[in-house]
């Protein structure tokens, strides 16, 4: 993982919008079902790499944008991303020191927490999706973590 850096706002916003776009990019059939939560991965990466600039407000804003993007209950992604970002910020020094495999495991736990909270909010608001395939996005997302960190370290964090 790259050094902790202060990335400029334009770059942070551009990457966040790219992640949002990747979330609604049309994919054929089952690929759309296992699509990793790019916004959650991006928010987590920013919170680990540049916690002073991003962190909770960034996560909340990105979550709200995601809600607007997908036309779901306003505030649900905002809340779930907020919670996982809080956990990640609290544990960020440990997570950053972990080897990649262990880091991926932590990310998987956070993604699972994110998905579980979404599932719970869906259920409370009466829109429950009980299809088991919704959980596939969690391991797929975790498997994408090494790729995402590699990509972002090269493309986004470069000065």
């Amino acid at each position: 993982m790259a050094r902790s850096t202060n990335l400029g706002w334009p770059r942070i916003i551009a990457v966040t919008i790219a992640a949002l776009a990747a979330t609604v990019l049309p994919l054929p059939g089952w690929l759309g079902m296992v699509r990793p939560d790019f916004v959650a991965l991006t928010v987590l990466w920013f919170c680990l790499i540049s916690p002073r600039m991003t962190g909770l407000f960034h996560a909340w804003g990105a979550g709200l944008a995601l809600d607007a993007f997908r036309g779901v209950l306003l505030g649900q992604h905002a809340l779930t991303l907020l919670v996982i970002t809080y956990v990640a910020t609290k544990l960020r020094l440990q997570i950053r020191a972990f080897p990649l495999l262990q880091q991926t495991a932590v990310i998987m736990a956070l993604l699972w927490l994110n998905e579980f909270l979404l599932f719970w909010i869906d259920g409370v608001s009466g829109h429950a999706i009980t299809d088991w395939r919704r959980w596939l996005a969690v391991p797929v997302g975790a498997a994408c973590w090494p790729l995402i960190t590699g990509l972002y370290a090269r493309v986004v964090a470069r000065r």
């Binding site: 049309p26 002073r52 993007f69 306003l74 020094l93 909010i121 608001s125 829109h127």
Partner: protein
């Protein structure tokens, strides 16, 4: 490298400031969710949000749309000619039908006038293009490129050339979200065309299937029967094709049949749909399943 500069901010993030921010933002999120959930109090904010995100949603599918238009413009002469022949044949058939339809419609209106009930036929339509973005793989919703600026309203019926497509659930200034009849939260009041039996068709979450769980064991329904909208509830115009029965499961131990139907509208293949305006001011004499035409109430939890 940046020159070293003293930094007064704490090295370890956390403490009360972080927790406070979490609580404030979490309360804000909860507030938004409750306000949005309770009778859509945030309609105005939502519509602004949708206007802001629409350009990005549009941009996401722009390369795909561009590719499709390039492919169309490179269609071979032979293809265009064969299409043309087919369309001319279609046109002939449709015009013949139209001749008969005109006469029937007049007769129908005379009869309805005699019964003092008005025929609710679609008066005006607007073609809307589907914006190819994946809103949610587990729900059957699409985004179209027409919104309140074009007069689109919440609860408006959407049709395609073959039948009923869905209804508008959310309207922004330049875009609208449509819930398909196959969405698990959608129910449409229908009528079996052959017998006139009324029931409700629920979405299943798969674009090729509807389910009709409320038909009693003794109902006269067979595979192949056409389902048309009954018009109860006032969302959909009556008499438009909805689907075709594909399977009737008769299990004598159950009080109700398990009936499956296939939507006639090409739900997963359409690129354009029609938004319909029709006169829905007429009150039906039997408003029993009237609520069913709304997308099932979220709090109802069906």
């Amino acid at each position: 490298m940046t020159p070293h500069e003293p930094d007064a901010r704490p090295l370890l993030l956390g403490g009360p400031a972080l927790g406070l921010r979490l609580i404030v933002l979490a309360i804000l999120s909860f507030g938004l969710m409750v306000a949005d959930h309770r009778q859509h109090q945030l309609a105005v904010i939502r519509s602004w949000f949708s206007a802001i995100v629409y350009p990005i949603q549009w941009a996401v599918q722009a390369p795909l749309a561009a590719w499709n238009s390039v492919r169309d413009s490179l269609a071979t002469r032979a293809q265009i000619e064969s299409d043309n022949v087919r369309l001319q044949a279609d046109n002939l058939v449709l015009r013949l039908k139209q001749l008969r339809y005109d006469a029937l419609e007049q007769e129908n209106q005379r009869l309805r006038a005699a019964h003092e009930s008005s025929a609710r036929i679609v008066q005006r339509t607007l073609v809307a293009e589907i914006v190819r973005v994946d809103l949610d793989p587990f729900r059957q919703r699409v985004l179209v490129n027409k919104g309140s600026r074009d007069g689109v309203f919440r609860g408006q019926a959407a049709l395609d050339a073959n039948g009923i497509f869905g209804q508008v659930t959310r309207v922004g200034p330049v875009s609208a979200e449509i819930i398909l009849i196959s969405d698990p939260e959608h129910a449409i009041p229908v009528q079996v065309n052959r017998t006139g039996a009324r029931t409700i068709a629920l979405g299943t979450g798969r674009s090729g299937q509807l389910s009709l769980p409320y038909m009693p064991q003794n109902s006269d329904v067979v595979a192949g029967d056409l389902l048309v909208s009954s018009g109860l509830g006032g969302v959909y115009p009556p008499g438009y094709p909805v689907g075709k029965i594909t399977e009737v499961g008769r299990d004598p131990s159950q009080p109700l049949l398990s009936v499956a139907a296939e939507p006639l509208a090409a739900l997963d293949r359409d690129s354009e749909i029609l938004l319909a305006w029709f006169d829905s001011t007429v009150q039906e004499p039997e408003p029993e399943p009237a609520v069913a035409a709304q997308p099932a109430d979220p709090a109802g939890g069906n």
